[in-house]
């Protein structure tokens, strides 16, 4: 049952954010017997099978300023809600490949990038990957059945096989193909991106936060937006100032603080917490906070087929082509990519494809919705030091604090990779008779990574192999911000695995009074 802790209780660990990283961390710290206060900026979302309505209510709407290649009106589509962006996710649950932890060594010095190797290797995470897959009930793994085939996925898979691809499957989705963890079997309803109304999809909202509360060690405070992390004269983090639902500022004392506020708000919070001792912001002595922002490369292939597709039926991302995941420099770029089928509901169709387009030609395409098949491309995004989150010099948020300024320009490697993936994606659909194929790189992104990255050398990043900041011994980075590099796979399984690993480590540190 939900516990209550006093604001001046300085024995607790404070977790900022309740998404894939924060929710898992809170649950796992609770399981380890650690008292936790979880601060969540958003409220508990109401889910329904109406994706635009759910997006409208739960999207992160705080103002941001944008510079570079992303859509200035909607640079990122992430949630401000209990459960974070796991509410919207499509549950693709894939491990990074071993070489994805040795990016600098594998790719060499790509001019213009700030590539490093991770301070951990695949072998450090392997057992946690397996544990996270079991915990999330990933389909096709550890005895769980595959998700069933559906039209949109079959079209992608058959086309891929005709083109000679071999790593063609239904992938692994964290949706329950059998009842699991107190949640029901997936009914193949579609609407994954608006949140699963029956809880068959793993989300932090429906799996980890309930687990955290059931531990009897966790208090969740909703609509509590962290605005500053405080520290003492010794340089130890001491508490978090947050704004509560009534707009009042509160201060929660803490023994350890874990920041899992998404790759934009996590660095913003550290920058907002500047002080006399940390004039550039917390953990930013090396000037690394907010830099190396990676979004993953997202693309879309839309194909008009000779007959009806019913692409809205079933799990959004059933159907995976993974041949492109490996690193093959002969293709003319570093890193890899994959294709996953992507169902689209009619009400979001005009915006999901080209959020600003209109007119007679576009309408003729929209009209062909019944015969539309679609796949998403996800690809590795190279770190660039100047792709970064900073504090805006002029614009302030509702609390009078500088908003995040987002600067992102895609590297030549990114554009070469996406060009290759989209051209080959078109061929897949041509091979199954597509009459028209439309391709584009998305300028609205979902994954925000690398902005407080792990590094062996404190000069190269913000935190160490456990996510602990190089500068403050009891301040941790617990979300995708800690990624040293991105990969061809979506980040969620890795975020969850890192959170489990970090929780065990932190619990040990706290129990042994090392912190």
């Amino acid at each position: 049952m939900s516990k209550r802790f006093a604001l001046d209780d300085d024995r607790v660990a404070v977790v900022i954010g309740s998404g894939a990283g924060g929710g898992t961390l809170a649950a796992e710290l609770g399981a380890q017997g650690i008292d936790v206060v979880c601060l969540e900026a958003g409220a508990t979302p109401t889910l329904e099978q109406n994706v635009p309505a759910v997006y409208g209510r739960t999207r992160w709407r705080d103002p941001r300023t944008v510079e570079g290649d992303l859509n200035p009106d909607l640079p990122t589509l992430i949630a401000k809600a209990v459960g974070g962006t796991t509410v919207f996710w499509t549950a693709v649950t894939l491990r990074r490949q071993p070489h994805d932890f040795r990016s600098r060594t594998t790719y060499g010095a790509l001019p213009g990038t700030s590539l490093i190797d991770w301070p951990i290797g695949y072998e450090d995470l392997e057992a946690f990957y397996a544990e996270a897959e079991r915990r999330m009930g990933a389909s096709g793994l550890h005895g769980k059945p595959d998700v069933p085939d559906h039209n949109n996925g079959e079209i992608l898979k058959i086309g891929a096989r005709r083109c000679g691809y071999r790593q063609v499957s239904n992938g692994h989705l964290s949706v329950n193909t059998v009842p699991h963890d107190g949640r029901p079997q997936c009914r193949q309803m579609g609407f994954c991106t608006g949140g699963c109304v029956i809880g068959a999809k793993w989300t932090s909202l429906q799996a980890e936060i309930p687990r955290a509360l059931a531990s009897g060690r966790c208090e969740l405070r909703e609509q509590a937006q962290a605005v500053q992390i405080e520290h003492d004269a010794r340089g130890r983090a001491t508490g978090v100032v947050y704004v509560d639902a009534r707009g009042e500022r509160r201060r929660q004392r803490a023994r350890a603080i874990c920041v899992a506020a998404n790759g934009i708000e996590t660095p913003r919070l550290l920058l907002l917490s500047q002080s006399g001792r940390f004039p550039q912001g917390l953990a930013n002595g090396a000037g690394q906070v907010g830099r190396h922002w990676m979004t993953d490369l997202l693309g879309r292939v839309i194909a008009i087929m000779p007959g009806p597709v019913h692409n809205y039926r079933g799990t959004t991302n059933t159907g995976l082509v993974a041949d492109g995941m490996h690193h093959d420099p002969t293709r003319g770029f570093a890193g890899g990519f994959l294709y996953a089928s992507r169902g689209i509901h009619l009400p979001v169709w005009p915006n999901e494809w080209q959020p600003t387009e209109w007119g007679a030609d576009y309408s003729r395409m929209l009209e062909q919705y019944p015969n539309m098949a679609s796949a998403a491309v996800i690809g590795e995004d190279m770190p660039v030091a100047d792709n970064r989150i900073t504090l805006d010099a002029e614009i302030k948020d509702a609390h009078g604090l500088p908003v995040a300024h987002l600067a992102k320009r895609y590297h030549a490697n990114d554009l070469a990779l996406m060009d290759h993936a989209l051209k080959n994606g078109e061929q897949i659909y041509r091979a199954v008779g597509a009459t028209e194929v439309f391709t584009a790189m998305s300028r609205t992104v979902i994954h925000n990574l690398g902005t407080c990255r792990q590094s062996r050398d404190p000069a190269d990043g913000v935190c160490n192999a456990w996510g602990r900041t190089h500068e403050l011994p009891n301040l941790y980075i617990s979300d995708g911000s800690q990624f040293s590099t991105s990969a061809a796979v979506p980040p969620t399984l890795t975020i969850v695995s890192l959170a489990i690993r970090q929780a065990r480590h932190l619990a040990e540190q706290l129990k042994s009074n090392a912190i």
Partner: protein, 165 residues
């Protein structure tokens, strides 16, 4: 910074349906209060012509475009800056544009203030593609929860694709 207005929950749709009825002068059930701004008929007609220029799909009839027009008018009534943008942008359109052929109207709108086009588009997408009445024309059934999802039905039915089972 403005974001797309994606809100077309059922409750809001009902309110809008009322607004449209008032905007196009249809009879309302007695005693029904409809809090909408007075929209001059010429402005409504212009907005309808504009949303039709954005999305000239045959399945979207006059009533749906009027819904979109009413939604735009409602937003502008609530935000003076948007209202000024709308007024300014409508006034800048050439005389007689509403009777111009579709291609000419599209060319005209491509030269208009992008902020104006964005305002029109945001409301038009929600009102047109979010309208359950038109979903059957797209073969889209809407929510699947009422019938329990597709798990027990045939999820692969692609008669035009021989390899599909």
């Amino acid at each position: 910074m403005k974001h797309a207005d994606f809100d077309f929950s059922p409750r809001r749709r009902r309110l809008l349906a009322g607004s449209v009825a008032a905007a196009v002068g249809a009879a309302l059930p007695p005693g029904r209060a409809v809090a909408i701004p007075a929209v001059p008929p010429s402005r409504t007609a212009s907005l309808v012509a504009l949303t039709r220029t954005l999305f000239p799909l045959a399945v979207f009839g006059e009533t749906l475009h009027a819904t979109a027009a009413a939604q735009i008018a409602e937003r502008c009534a609530a935000e003076p800056a948007l209202d000024a943008l709308l007024e300014r942008s409508l006034a800048a359109l050439p005389a007689g544009w509403r009777d111009a052929p579709p291609a000419a109207r599209e060319a005209m709108l491509r030269k208009a203030d992008p902020a104006f086009v964005k305002l029109l588009r945001q409301s038009a997408v929600g009102a047109l593609f979010g309208a359950p009445d038109t979903w059957p024309h797209f073969g889209y059934p809407g929510p699947s929860l009422p019938f329990g999802g597709y798990l027990d039905s045939k999820l692969v039915d692609l008669p035009w694709l021989k390899e599909a089972t």
